[in-house]
Symmetry: C2
Subunit: 254 residues, 2 copies
Amino acid sequence: MPGRIQSIERAAAILRLLSGRSRRLGVVEMANELGLPKGTVHGILRTLQHVGFVEQDPESGKYRLGAALLHMGSSYLDGNELRTRALNWSDSLASRTHEEVRIGTLHDGRVLIVHHVFRPDDSMQTLDVGSLMPIHATALGKVLLATHPHVAEEVMKRELPSYTDSTITDPKLLRRELERVRERGWASEAGELQRLRSSLAAPIIDRTGRTVGAMGIFGGPERLFAARSPRPELLTHVREHAQAVSRELGAIPW
Amino acid sequence: MPGRIQSIERAAAILRLLSGRSRRLGVVEMANELGLPKGTVHGILRTLQHVGFVEQDPESGKYRLGAALLHMGSSYLDGNELRTRALNWSDSLASRTHEEVRIGTLHDGRVLIVHHVFRPDDSMQTLDVGSLMPIHATALGKVLLATHPHVAEEVMKRELPSYTDSTITDPKLLRRELERVRERGWASEAGELQRLRSSLAAPIIDRTGRTVGAMGIFGGPERLFAARSPRPELLTHVREHAQAVSRELGAIPW
DNA sequence: AACCTCGTTTGACAATGTCATACGCGGTTA
DNA sequence: TAACCGCGTATGACATTGTCAAACGAGGTT
């Protein structure tokens, strides 16, 4: 795959930087971080500002992401087939299980949430469509890792961050866990990301047989588990709903 | 303001194009639309794909927006002060009025929705954070236009699209309406976007005195209006909540 | 089997972005 | 008050870089 366009790659790097840090960043700050002359960074920022991808704080002169990105992000969602097909089924799953539902897809070694349904009759939750969840500490992530072994190996090359004392941080243990996920066709997690939260998930498969996402429920371990293993009726709901979405995507009914 | 970087502007134009059309687009299609050689467009797309801003459909070879944009969009929201400060107040407004709440800001001559709270106990609505609403057919938009006269003139240069037979399409009438909005400090709309929907909105002001957004409720005209004018208690709630957000943003309490 | 159309590659050319240097401003220090 | 940072911004010469016409090759259609 031959040459990429340098200035666009740099612009993307700047946007990624701004997206990572939540606070506003200055020109020199970014220039140092990226190892570029500040003049260059400034020129790129000027252009990005003109197209609405970044905004400049009039007082401090520092930069942050721009509103155009929000609209593009939502346009992405509109065109995302996985999410579109899953809309009805995720509502159904939420009301059947009385739990919060999320649909995630693999992005950059993490789980990108493309849809999120609140737990019924439980408002005051914050929607986290667009956020990235850790891949080795969520059931969604385990499903995705189990079906993408090369990504799994890539992820395990880096240190696996620990979130609670239940988080799987040993690659050997994780590999074994993923093996189990592959065998059973579903994944679970209890308190591995937050002590009092857990999740169950199953794969969503498209017409080519590839796992393009995962669908799962989130809730307190006392509700999702019984005697250390997932409650069978919840598991069935999750698996059947994920299958339903897969069927909508054209997967061969299995 | 001197030179912008051509390739980045072109990349942005491509993304905007993809964001506008919901279906996938091909290289030649975009090249024609933008008046560029297809080789050039392809090179930009290759780079955008590499950074995750576009994805290519493996079967058709056509392009669509990429997942990275979704995450950046949500990062924008995290850093958006207007939205952050408004979170609690919009929940409060929704439960007080029992109506759907939206917060919007000016973007590109339209209203960009940065926050959206469903009508309490009424699920199955689709969240439209990130979507763009027409500016002259919503109360949110009227508030923003009334406080940004130059934008109003810009918008009125183009034909004002009609959505129902109540939509204000005559610039003269719209100017008079905006005058009223300025005087009263709030805006209303009944059936101007959809026949059986209406909205009330008030401005959100920051520490510099600029109107940085608008907050409003949406609901059936029979609930929001009585005898052709907005129900006073709803109006009061909207105005007071918008003021509360303004105060959080550091506006001088008035 | 000839012929589209589309996505992709190529390579020479010069337009274009790069980057060191300089500028001007605000804040801080001596 | 004046010297001095540090910042965001402007400038301009240079050669790196992106551009674009033309050609390629794979699908599909005629």
